[in-house]
Amino acid sequence: MKDVFITANSIISPLGFTSEANLAKISKEHSGIILHSDFSTSPCYASIINNKKLDQSFSTLGNSKMYTKLEKMMILSLQDTISQSTFTISDKTALIIATTKGNIDALNNNFKPERAYLPVLGKKIQEFFGFKTEPIIISNACVSGILAIAVAKRFIQNNYYDNAFVVGGDIVSEFTLSGFQSFQAISDKPCKPFSKHRTGISIGEAAASVAITNKNTEKEAIQIIGDGSCNDANHISGPSRTGEGLYLSILSALKEAKIQPETIDYISAHGTATAFNDEMEAIAFNRAKLEHVPLNSLKGYYGHTLGASGLLEAIVGIHSIKNNLLYSSLGFDELGVSIPLNIIKNTIKAEVNTFLKTASGFGGCNTAVLFKKMTL
């Protein structure tokens, strides 16, 4: 099978409109989560992109009024990634889009309700950049973003495409906010993943994108060496008590990469900061013999960015490899899960060669992807 590499990347979030700007904020432990009082429900903590700043950046690319917020975020991110990429769009280039809810706000705003259909969103992005192939849209709850990387890898390995641009994004809408509130899952403070004092999630919005290719021309490259996406077969809205699907996903990724758990230098966990999710992850990582591996959740910086989260957090992991830094798990203080985990309390220098990114979501879905530094 062909080797597959991740090259260019870009993050659009409240922390900045490039990956570098985001990483600079993370290294200073700045969070995008602040108290927002303009929701029609009640004030709550969330990580939200400033509309004026977004429109200002977008104005160099197109007419802000013609595109939804999510489309602008995704287009800005892709534009940045495409401009950095070593390859150009050909008829063997896939466009892969990951989102949970897409333009769900079109059900209740000035855009036509048809805009809420994901293929309509796909077409907007495809036409903007002139992609020659039909967009591949993945909507698989909160694993969408990281699953999109696995899908791109599999398609390239099997020669269906030479390369791909992958973009993931979701917005903070009244739709998702009220839904998580109805589950009583929203924290009354900025979220505190894996902490004893955690009280739930904070939601956030972001778009993230990467270029994936079978040709590496860089001296130091990031290879995607294994993946797995297994179901808990347990509950549609609650994480498995045994971490079954996540454990199986990690095993599947390890088996494909032909590596042992001790080879992993860092885990970028899902860590939503709900009581059940974080406990489930602790169980799965222990079952996979990964409890000693330095681990963080980036939800303390971004909140839970839903379909973007896995992709966004994988990009931060890639920068951990490049910068030889393990970033602190913001919001963590005392361990709040029943079995050991090695949570990164302070940002530290460390050589990272191999890392694991995981995510889990409603519907019992889980995804694990392994990334490795390759030096030519």
Partner: protein, 207 residues
């Protein structure tokens, strides 16, 4: 390194009718709504799975198709456990999204329900099928403008080539207002009916 794959079984649900491998097994009155139709089918088959009544219409449709398909395919539990599930549609969960949106539109009559919200993700249907049949294999939900035989073939072949799955449950399960359309099929190396994107597209359009 082309792998030859076969279609083990296929199920079609549309126009108040259910067929397995091209043979109609259920036909109901065309005046029924989808949920009335689904309830009648459930009773007739005596499924004894009360969770069915909590599901939204999309999950009900996917659930019914998978029940008929697995009944016919009759796979061993160890094979079933690792089946990959790759489903797709056009509307994602919009049919339920609209119902949920109605519960939050009016601030004087605001009643968001977690029981409805959880179904505002199309892959919940994969979760429901996985729970019923104890399937812990690969999952993916794709959205496209119409039945995309190329995408489903490429992903199915990738899962089997990469040794992630031996059997893949594929399908197009769409519910949008009063329209519904289900086509589900099981692909593996075993079997006698050749699988290709052309063959599957032909089955979809002629059944």
């Amino acid at each position: 390194m082309k792998t030859n794959l076969n279609i083990i079984t296929f199920c079609r649900i549309k126009n108040h009718s259910i067929s397995i491998n091209g043979k109609e097994v259920i036909q109901k009155d065309s005046q029924l709504t989808f949920s009335e139709f689904a309830k009648l089918v459930y009773k007739e088959k005596a499924f004894a799975y009360p969770k069915f009544f909590k599901m939204d219409n999309l999950s009900k449709l996917g659930f019914l198709a998978s029940e008929f398909l697995f009944e016919k395919a009759d796979l061993d539990a160890h094979i079933k456990e690792n089946i990959g599930i790759v489903l797709s549609n056009k509307s994602a969960s919009l049919d339920t999204d609209r119902k949920y949106q109605e519960t939050i539109n009016d601030k004087a009559n605001y009643f968001p329900s977690p029981a409805v919200f959880v179904y505002t993700l199309a892959n919940i249907m994969i979760g429901e099928i996985s729970i019923k049949h104890q399937i812990k294999g690969e999952n993916a939900f794709f959205v496209s403008d119409k039945f995309n035989e190329l995408l489903l073939e490429q992903y199915t072949v990738s899962l089997i080539q990469n040794k992630k799955s031996s059997h893949v449950l594929c399908g197009w399960i769409d519910v949008d207002k009063d329209k519904y359309d289900a086509f589900m099929y099981l692909v593996a190396k075993e079997g006698t009916q050749n699988y290709s994107k052309e063959i599957i597209k032909n089955i979809y359009t002629t059944n």
